[in-house]
Amino acid sequence: MIRILVSREPIDPAAEMAALEQGGAVATFTGLVRADDGVATLELEHYPGATEAALTRLAEDATARWPLAAATIVHRVGPMTAGERIVFVGTCSAHRQAALEACAFLIDRLKTDAPFWKRETVGEKTRWVEARAADDDAAARWR
């Protein structure tokens, strides 16, 4: 069962985790707006339609590669503040390694394959976050 949600509302990990519990092993990853570096606010822009399609493809890739009972990707868009949740990915499988690997796969690939852009405000300054080569490397190990 695949669940994809792109929303301006806060992410509720408890509800997402409960919905994932369809087998013996559940793995999750949650990304938060970093509170360090003086980042005060973050704004997430995305490509409506294409975003949901890219996340669905990603979840389908995961269910093709691992025996998953469930895969969830929830991504927040719009403005948010330090400490808030940006992204939640979760997997459920009868097998621990499948759940853990598929969860890492989803977040690694989401970083490079889904059309989101972060703009952060630090003090008075606003800047678009630069893509990281380390994210390309992390995504590449799944190809």
């Binding site: 989101f116 678009w128 976050v129 893509a131």
Partner: protein
């Protein structure tokens, strides 16, 4: 053909989207970018370094040398930074 711009590409051009009818010799995304560059000072700044640009044709991510064919929608944007 509908063009969509995101993040700093959108900001530099000053438009989230526009409709264009490229001439026949514009065959690839790279051709399209070159053809759009002189359209305004904003386009020129946005497209000054094509190596920093990424694209999607009809919502599928493609390399800049991909053909645009009969595409309805082409999006041009910086490398993605979600998650």
């Amino acid at each position: 053909m509908k063009l969509l711009y995101f993040a700093w590409v959108r900001e530099r051009i000053g438009l989230p989207e526009e409709d264009v009818t490229p001439p026949a010799h514009v065959a690839t995304v790279a051709d399209l970018i070159a053809w759009l560059t002189p359209r305004s000072p904003g386009h020129a700044v946005a497209f000054v370094d094509p190596a920093r640009l990424r694209a999607a044709v009809d919502q599928a991510f493609v390399a800049l040398d991909a053909p645009i064919g009969e595409a309805h929608e082409v999006a041009i944007f910086p490398p993605v930074t979600g998650g």
